[in-house]
């Protein structure tokens, strides 16, 4: 590990060990650099990381302060994870059933979203995930045929779609733009998630996934039972 990352951890431990209480000022950057025997710039890199993590507050001309640690949240939406991971984080054990895997013609909406020709071939995968015998998610995944080729015929798809795309197609999903929608009660996929209760609340995530170069690679509809999952976002003011 590089020097400034190491110092970041040192400082982190010191904060956890209450060397300085919440609200207290740290020694000046000059002093801290001397203490760790590094240059001031290196020390500053470490502080910048802790500032981004929300553990320090730096005030120009005044000093650097320890601030109250925020609660840890298991699953935050700003951090992209596969649905499988979200299920694990919710403390559930998953079994799944593929509802369909195959090629279909691209609709207008998919074409526009994925930035491909209308009517070109796409591969569509539909899955239901169960936990304790109850359906908890319904996912529809759409990928351009040009990108995935015959991977779904060639290899057996099971487990994480992210891993599958990485291994079989060298596609690394890096980000996604996600719209959160409260779907109408009569939506056909919502129907599939209904249990015996009168009202089964469902949230729909319409997700456009990008690779590292920001190319559109995967469009998904993920229906999640909102009585089973919690959706958190940490929001910051800019």
């Amino acid at each position: 590990m590089s020097g400034y990352q190491h110092i970041k951890q040192e400082l982190e431990t010191m904060i956890e060990n209450k060397i300085w209480n919440v609200g207290e000022k740290l020694p000046s950057e000059y002093e801290l650099a001397k203490h760790f025997s590094v240059s001031r710039e290196t020390l500053r890199s470490a502080i910048k990381l802790l500032e981004q993590d929300g553990k320090l507050l730096v005030k120009h001309g005044i000093g650097t302060f320890v601030i109250k640690p925020l609660p840890g949240i298991p699953s935050r939406l700003e951090f992209l994870q596969s649905i499988g991971t979200m299920i694990k984080l919710a403390g559930l054990t998953e079994t799944d059933s593929k509802e369909m895997i195959g090629e279909v013609d691209c609709t207008e909406e998919w074409a526009k979203t994925l930035n491909i020709e209308e009517g070109s071939q796409v591969v569509k995968v539909e899955r239901i995930r169960y936990a304790d015998g109850e359906a908890v998610t319904y996912s529809v995944n759409i990928m351009p045929k040009d990108l995935v080729g015959d991977a779904f015929e060639r290899a057996d798809f099971s487990g994480s779609l992210f891993n599958f795309l990485e291994k079989e197609c060298s596609i690394h999903i890096a980000k996604a733009d996600t719209e959160l929608v409260v779907p109408p009660n009569k939506d056909k996929y919502v129907e599939r998630l209904k249990n015996h209760q009168e009202e089964t609340p469902v949230l729909l995530m319409k997700q456009l996934h990008y690779d590292q170069q920001n190319r559109e690679v995967l469009y998904s509809y993920d229906y999640l039972r909102s009585d089973v999952f919690q959706f958190w976002v940490r929001r910051e003011r800019k």
Copy 2:
């Protein structure tokens, strides 16, 4: 503006003007630094900013590349904004009515969330926002009396709560942890947002707001008509 921020803008303009196409490699940091007559570290600071903005992809040992610009999204949940701002961004003109402003005893849930004594005094503000004559949001805001004092009696509250807290109480809201909930149809606040249609979809944001020192300062229930607002998040994989 400092030097590296200036260079960031220069580079940004050059990218927009297609000096380099999407996917192309920029000159090396050494070359760019020479071109702008700055040190390499300064040049690197500018590049780091563009990388965080998702405009450049830096590959160790290979080079720095222009990547596809992502679509601009008007309102992203990771960026904390007042409901009033969200309404403006949705292209609506707002009128509002205060349903109540006053002091009440703190419930157990509020106490736990705001990290104050159960039964201590809190100030509660309820507002309905209308656009084109229809109710589009219902907000319940809870603030510890210790923090806001008699600000709501002393001064006239109208417009943005964030601005009011800033001006009257020197409270700067910096972040929030928000849980997104699909509320039950019979929720009393959801009832207030129903219009003539059969089904009025509503999303509830349970938001705990922090100041710059991460102190809990405001807890809100914000009910938003999801046929009027769009909820987007950009998710990144870590």
